[in-house]
């Protein structure tokens, strides 16, 4: 077994603006700088901007644009999606269904399309919203750009096979 390791500092900001009860715009910027380990240095960036709109009670639509830069290799893309609260629309089934379509371009020409279908249950007083989605990460829900890139971008798919 061969191990390699490095340490990094991470800094980021998030912001959100809610001009009405049904509309919210948000953004996120994260940066990590590698300065030691593996004999290399570099930076990782995550930038995202998006908005969500509650079309009617229980029906949410959103869009996100994002860029993920891993030591010079850039992934940029967008995602559009929505969620539909079944109970709020008279369907006798608990939970909220979610749908997201995302597209990402890597720095060396490959393009990835992604469709995600989900089912969300809210516990307690929480309000259901898509979790396995760009909406969550663009709002800062997953800390550090590297973790976000791997958790929600499908980074492994647009990088060439080892």
């Amino acid at each position: 077994m061969q191990y390699s390791s490095l340490s990094s500092n991470n800094i980021g900001v998030t912001a959100a603006l809610r001009p009405t009860d049904s509309f919210e715009a948000f953004c996120r910027f994260d940066q990590s700088g590698f300065s030691e380990g593996l004999g290399t240095s570099g930076s990782t960036f995550l930038t995202a901007i998006g908005a969500q709109y509650e079309v009617q009670k229980g029906l949410l639509a959103y869009g996100v644009m994002q860029r993920f830069n891993l030591r010079g290799e850039s992934l940029k893309g967008y995602a559009v999606g929505g969620s539909y609260d079944l109970a709020a629309h008279g369907i006798d089934t608990p939970g909220t269904v979610t749908l997201e379509f995302a597209k990402a371009d890597s720095g060396y020409g490959s393009t990835q399309s992604q469709v995600t279908v989900g089912w969300v249950i809210a516990l307690g007083n929480a309000k259901a919203h898509p979790l396995n989605s760009s909406l969550r990460t663009a709002r800062g829900g997953v800390r550090t750009p590297l973790a976000t890139g791997f958790v929600n971008f499908g980074v492994l798919n647009v990088l060439p096979p080892a």
């Binding site: 077994m1 061969q2 191990y3 390699s4 390791s5 490095l6 340490s7 990094s8 500092n9 991470n10 800094i11 980021g12 900001v13 998030t14 912001a15 959100a16 603006l17 809610r18 001009p19 994260d30 380990g37 979610t98 490959s110 393009t111 990835q112 399309s113 992604q114 469709v115 995600t116 279908v117 989900g118 089912w119 969300v120 249950i121 809210a122 516990l123 307690g124 007083n125 929480a126 259901a128 919203h129 898509p130 979790l131 396995n132 969550r136 800062g140 829900g141 997953v142 800390r143 550090t144 590297l146 973790a147 791997f150 958790v151 499908g154 492994l156 798919n157 647009v158 096979p161 080892a162």
Partner: protein, 152 residues
């Protein structure tokens, strides 16, 4: 260094504690199961995922956020497993501001490659009904391992 088992144990305690008893404790969360299909000019794959985002509220001023994510991606004829835990103790102030810390552990595994990302840091923010802003600062340690197998 964080240990994913410690975080998992803490997560279990977080679930047990609110249901055990005691007034003032509450648990609010969102659970999601999902499936993703990927296609690119390099590869096609799919991923199943389980996600939990929750808050255990101990009082008006103190809560602990708990996230658990699990995903399995099938790509290049291999399964890539991802696990993530995040704990975020947070103090809320009456003027709308908050401060807290986060502990996050992410691990990926696919033969013969493994990757661990452990991070921790502080965050602060301010929320109103109309807008919010937050700032985060932290550090993470990144380790990957390659398992070499001798074939005889």
């Amino acid at each position: 260094m964080l240990n994913i088992n410690i975080l998992f144990s803490a997560a279990v305690l977080m679930f047990v504690a609110p249901s055990a008893h005691s007034e003032g404790l509450s648990f609010d969360g969102i659970v999601s199961v999902s499936e993703s299909a990927f296609s690119s000019d390099l590869n096609s794959s799919d991923r199943i995922a389980f996600n939990l985002v929750s808050d255990v509220t101990f009082s008006d001023r103190f809560s602990v956020g708990l996230d658990i994510d699990y995903g399995q991606t099938s790509a290049y004829n291999k399964n890539i497993n991802m696990r993530r835990f995040q704990l975020e103790p947070t103090i809320q102030f009456s003027n709308g501001s908050h401060v807290g810390g986060y502990l996050q552990s992410v691990s990926f595994s696919t033969s013969p490659f493994g990757l661990d990302l452990e991070s921790y840091g502080l965050f602060a923010g301010y929320d109103t009904q109309k807008w919010s802003i937050g700032r985060i600062r932290g550090q993470y340690n990144f380790r990957h391992a390659i398992q070499f197998t001798l074939v005889q």
